[in-house]
Symmetry: C2
């Protein structure tokens, strides 16, 4: 906790120094907002694809594109959580930085699942697509349950 506070103060000081010095610098809030944008895009893809998988929207022809877009975003997940982006308006839990290997392992599982969805959409087989979609959803859920603040 103490370490955490010192870390935060030092990060903030560095930021203030840069701003005072007139540099345009990436800031923690900007990094967090970037991450949230990327996560939002992923959620949008999953939500859209879910409707097709359930047979509720006639856009099967877009699935391969969506899966590829999603996969590209899932691949960058580990990079979205650099040191110093662990405070501010974020639901990311400290555990991400405390258990870096565990987090990376979960992210790698999600990447594998998303890659599987790309392959399934390319096959065009609705059964395979449905299963692969479910696997992606499951890996999102597992990572969120472990590393994201619970929503009330």
């Amino acid at each position: 906790m103490r370490h955490c506070l010192i870390h935060r103060i030092s990060t903030l000081s560095a930021l203030i120094l840069c701003v005072v010095a007139g540099h345009a610098v990436a800031d923690e809030e900007g990094t967090i907002k970037y991450r949230q944008g990327v996560m939002k895009a992923q959620a949008g893809y999953m939500s859209a694809m879910g409707m097709v998988v359930q047979g509720r929207a006639d856009f099967a022809g877009n699935m391969a594109d969506h899966a590829e877009g999603l996969h590209r975003l899932v691949k960058i997940v580990p990079a979205l959580f650099p040191e110093g982006s662990d405070f501010g308006e974020t639901d990311a839990l400290d555990k991400i930085w405390q258990n870096r290997d565990g987090f990376r392992s979960k992210a790698a599982e999600a990447e594998k699942a998303a890659s599987g969805l790309v392959a399934a959409t390319q096959s065009g087989d609705p059964g395979k697509i449905g299963q692969a979609y479910k696997a992606v959803g499951q890996s999102c859920k597992e990572c969120h349950e472990e590393y994201r603040r619970k929503k009330n």
Copy 2:
């Protein structure tokens, strides 16, 4: 208004018939949710890219990928609004269907802007990227102002 009501009743009847007959059919709500997912993904991309454009997040290397993902989604916008997806939980205004050509024209402008952003990100020139990003934002805004219900 009367036409609109009749249209809605007939669409609903067709849906009920299909459900009664046991077919798995795309429904209006599913189509709307699909559309909202695609729009959410676009908003996520714009939000993430905005942080990079403002120099607030160090992810310039992802810009070309994001721009391409966004462009692929913007391209399908006109197809997201089929006849019959004009009621339910949607912010889409009737004007989309009443002024189909006008809407298509606005969507085509957005597509052109998104294509310009792809080109700019491939150049890697931050000035060009910033301008192209702004043009995309402007085209989103113009279309939303004209064809989307105002948020309170």
